[in-house]
Symmetry: C2
Subunit: 334 residues, 2 copies
Amino acid sequence: MTITDIAKISGVGVSTVSRVLNNHPDVKSETREKVLGIIKEYNYVPNNSARILKQSNTKNIGILVKGVFNPFFSAILKNISTSVENAGYTMILQHHNNPNDLDTLVGFIKEKKLQGVICLGGNFVDIREESFDDLDVAIVLLCVNMKTQKAWNSFSTISIADDVAAYEATNYLIRSGHRNICLMLGDQYDLGVGQIRYEGYKKALEDNGIKVREDYLIYGEYEVTKAYETATQFLKAHKEVTAVFAISDMMAIGVAKSIVNLGLKIGDDISVMGFDGMDVAKYYEPTITTIKQPKDEMSKLSVELLFKLLNRKTKNKHIILDVELVKGNSTKQI
Amino acid sequence: MTITDIAKISGVGVSTVSRVLNNHPDVKSETREKVLGIIKEYNYVPNNSARILKQSNTKNIGILVKGVFNPFFSAILKNISTSVENAGYTMILQHHNNPNDLDTLVGFIKEKKLQGVICLGGNFVDIREESFDDLDVAIVLLCVNMKTQKAWNSFSTISIADDVAAYEATNYLIRSGHRNICLMLGDQYDLGVGQIRYEGYKKALEDNGIKVREDYLIYGEYEVTKAYETATQFLKAHKEVTAVFAISDMMAIGVAKSIVNLGLKIGDDISVMGFDGMDVAKYYEPTITTIKQPKDEMSKLSVELLFKLLNRKTKNKHIILDVELVKGNSTKQI
DNA sequence: CTGAAAGCGCTTACAG
DNA sequence: CTGAAAGCGCTTACAG
């Protein structure tokens, strides 16, 4: 079934069918009805590729997810997905683990002829103003390590001040009397947000005259199971540690469980601080103290910004959103 | 930059460039090198739409997610995503909430010219053997309400026996001495797996001579927050209830928290049973008794089956996987 | 091993 | 309000 078939059956030209398909106003309503009837009858759906080949407008929005596929991302994904589809665009999801985020992104954009793309995660170390020069695409980077927050105008970023947030979290633990504070990161080679959060942690310790210990860095791969295992092993070997700061709530839950299973009490014996502000942190027992990222705002803003960029209603922006330290019962004064 | 540009610059015909692009063997390696060099130099990426327009093979795999976008789905999503990309296919993710799953699916397949599609969730009430007749596409339905498990050969299903699983869960609570057992479903109009799980719950009660009470059905929208709110309200009004069976672990966690916040003890005062077997159920404190779905197997099998179907290496199958009741400390004998 | 040419299924000026 | 025709950027027989 092609547009030509429909045209023949309807007894009109292909241009007319095309006009009906694209809701052009100048078609006699009688003709429109007839064509629509045939389309319906034969269950005809136009070939997207042929359409796209003609129009430069693919209406494809890409979502490029780096590394982990954690629950924090999936909440964002849902929001984005809904908005993108409501706008009549197609959402192409790609997940990758390549070291070079920038190359991956550019290849993705070209291959799928994307109109816009939202990146979740990654560190774009060699990104430059000219990186997207010949592309004409709206780019929004989310949850990305962008150390150099210059006023670059070829892409947008929406982020939180990860270093400040991690500083605040660590400082909160220090203010509560903790000095032996372990940091649980994703993995050793995480150059994304993990890197920046580490810097915030480090600075908070240094500002308080606490020595930063390499062996207090542990890795939970953003997974509850792995976090549990790593924390169990670590806490057994380091009885002096009184607080663990995990850079995701799911890892914090793994850590919390390891404390219980070691016969200790969460908060009273060892404090646990999370990051993300997932619902589950609030509903865990005890509630997990965490840094709450404004995820609804992040997803809402990112799609809004993306479409504004697409429609040339704005120039690129670099937005930094506020986080909130939500106090739970998993951290205690000592 | 088009193939014609590359051909001109390289001093060869477009067919030769095309052959290089598609790794055809019969190109002189000298020519190949030269063309490859130009492609690299100009960062040329072929236009996918034009390619697809010629080849019937789009290499597009669709993932159609119905309704909720819960963490259980996102774990599956990650696995599928990785496998699909490794096979050189593009993953198109679509999320919907239309009542008519079948129409949505068929429209999706046609519009994107999908080679294969995996559906997560939904109830395909009016699905028929002929539904996909003119489509030539591999279809795998996952986590779907397929009451009529006929030996249909136009699509595949991978599922668990949701009714049996829910029966088992309910029966376990009954064996533990509970008689006033509340069931938390997603929402009132869920005709997907929620419907079948409800039937298992109902049958277990009936088989044990326990009256099924309409007012013992509550709805948590597969969300921890909503589950918490609904359960709190319900438990306040129904002091006689000693057990809650929630058909997702996230909802079970919300219920658990509501019990704590009502000043009661999880397990000792009110038992909580979950469903899914998410990691978090195992790491919650106390551990949540749950029905564990083989999610790794589900995602692995679904992709394997999809590609076998694509390559005509198998005919359609209807696979039912086993679940496991994982005992935690959230349920107690009374 | 290589190139010219047809054609995939659309959209869009252009002419009427 | 409508149709014939060109062309989007590829791939693929076909001929050499």
